[in-house]
Amino acid sequence: MWSSPLRRDIMMVEVLPVKTIRDPVHNLIQFSEKDESIILRLIDTPEFQRLHHIRQLGLSFLTYPGATHTRFSHSLGVTHLMRRFLDQLSTRAREQDEQDLKAALKDGRMLALAGALLHDVGHGPFSHALEQVTQIRHERLSRAIITGPTRIREYLEAWASGFSEEVADLIGRTHANRAVVKLLSSQLDVDRLDYLLRDALMSGARYGALDLEWLIHTLRMGEVDNPDGTKSTEVGLDLNKGLSLAEDFMMARFYMYNHVYLHKTTRAAELMVRHVLLRAYELTIDGEKLLPPALAELIVHRDAPEEVIEAYLTLTDATLWSHFFAWQEHPDPVLSYLSRGLIGRKLYKSVPYPEHLSPATIYELQVEAAKVGERLGLQLPAKYALFFDDESSMAYKDPYILGSSRMRHRTFKGVPARQSHEVLTPERPASQPEITQGEDEATEAVYLFDREGKAVELSEASNLIQFLRGKALRLRRLYVPEALRDWLKGRLENMA
């Protein structure tokens, strides 16, 4: 009875070992123990397991109590999505006879999966707040972990010689396989897609929900012209089938920025963490050993963090929270005030400030805030009495949603004009200059591809997105202790 060929096939399917993980966003995430053994080995390394102890959204749980998910689950989700993207695009590439793209995706498959899994491995606790303090980008720490004396490097090199450098290059966006780079890092990448879906689900603010199955169905890749005459490989959606979904995707981003990532309460906590670490550092310079030793070492070695990577790997959310708890009783009034605020959720209060307020005015307001605070019994020097928050201090960068003036002025000069479709192509207002040189690049845009593979930038195809991009979300705010809020409001009204 075992001689039947059909029966043999069934047996083969049954015996293929698969590791299955339950996930709230994707339900089942599965890795083949045979073909993807490297991924399973990487997951089990101590460096990757550390991500269990780094919350994906840092301090958002102070606003959305459910948002306590970790970079570990996000990284698994990104790897899962990467495989789905690769499978879909490989199928499309075959249909369209795009042999180069097909080859790039096939050759880069394991690279893409390993890069997706490890893309956040360098993140520390309260990622952006910590980056501001150490002045070291998490990308550099990721590279140091992936190519340094770690188990991750050992497994990557055992898989293929030189593979650790390749994975580090992919995460640093400098790998020559541009198709795989863009799948991991662009305006429509697996990282962003997983975090939107995951953060929406876990926070309970479901603005980020979108039709993932249709998005994957309409995925495309193609070439786009850059202003400097070069071409970029870009991820996009099918123009006819994916336009509504692309709009949905941008609206999801807009709402998540507005309501979750840049929520005024969360931002208050993030600014307080940044400043409590700054204060601890100032006291450390004065001789007191206050900072967690791993963090102090990292700051001392900021020009060569590779040398202290083992210490860095001991730094987690718990390390910093335990210090905040301890600092509540510290004799320094700034350190204890900020720590008590973070632990007891007595956060600084936000006041929106008018567009015309210049950095010079804010600087003077800080000085005033300190004086007013002193009269009210607060012992806070100027830079701790008033914080300000604008786009340059935010970790989230989004040219569509947060639109710097650069983006608002931008024209997509290299993109071929649409000719025969029924979507609208608004004219560029004459008052806006055409930027012919600069840092703008194709990767800062979302593209739609027509049947011939011609690209159109999303806001040229959609009135809705054109409007959204023109009305860039501005969340500039000043923050003061609650006792100073009425003073600040009155002061700003007087300036108006």
């Binding site: 966006r173 400098t174 400097d228 010079a360 600087y363 604008d390 003036s405 650069r406 040189q437 840092e439």
Partner: protein, 167 residues
């Protein structure tokens, strides 16, 4: 270490040396000064045109909005120059102890170079900073910037003479 006004101060201080034409050029100059260990608080990552710091562009945009930096659209691109308001705020910050040590002569030299040359130099320096050897960095730039590779010999010579001899 973080300071909310250090970025603003850096842009004002650099533009007080003289105007710079081109956003890309300004990005690359700031990156190269940072490579020379000037305490510049912007963090650069790799983009299509090489190392790029979004926060630097945003800080520059804010200063333009606040009329501390003037942005003029010229045939050679956007020109940035300090205004009187900008000079006033720069002086105020300097009185309060803000300072930036950097190689002023190098700044002038870089301002005089074409943006494409700076793009290659900055990219090459970025890879050398990551620990790549001269040959590895050259190959990497050759791969990613094949269309600008004519600059490579001069870039390598300048990197060796200026950046490898830094203190």
């Amino acid at each position: 270490m973080y300071d909310a006004f250090q970025g603003t101060f850096t842009v004002l201080k650099l533009l007080s040396q003289g105007p710079v034409t081109g956003r890309k050029k300004f990005q690359k100059i700031v990156h190269l000064l940072q490579t020379q260990r000037a305490a510049i608080p912007f963090q650069f990552t790799y983009h299509h045109y090489g190392p790029y710091a979004p926060a630097l562009q945003e800080t520059l945009d804010r200063l333009v909005e606040s009329h501390m930096v003037e942005e003029v659209h010229t045939s050679g691109g956007f020109e940035y120059r300090l205004t009187e308001d900008g000079e006033g705020f720069l002086k105020r910050l300097e009185q309060d102890g803000y300072h930036l040590a950097f190689d002023e002569k190098l700044f002038s030299t870089l301002v005089g170079k074409p943006a494409t040359f700076l793009e290659v130099l900055s990219t090459y320096a970025y890879f050398r900073e990551q620990g790549l050897s001269a040959e590895q960095a050259r190959q990497k730039v050759q791969l990613l910037k094949a269309h600008l590779s004519e600059h490579l010999p001069e870039v390598q010579a300048m990197y060796t003479s200026v950046f490898e001899t830094r203190p």
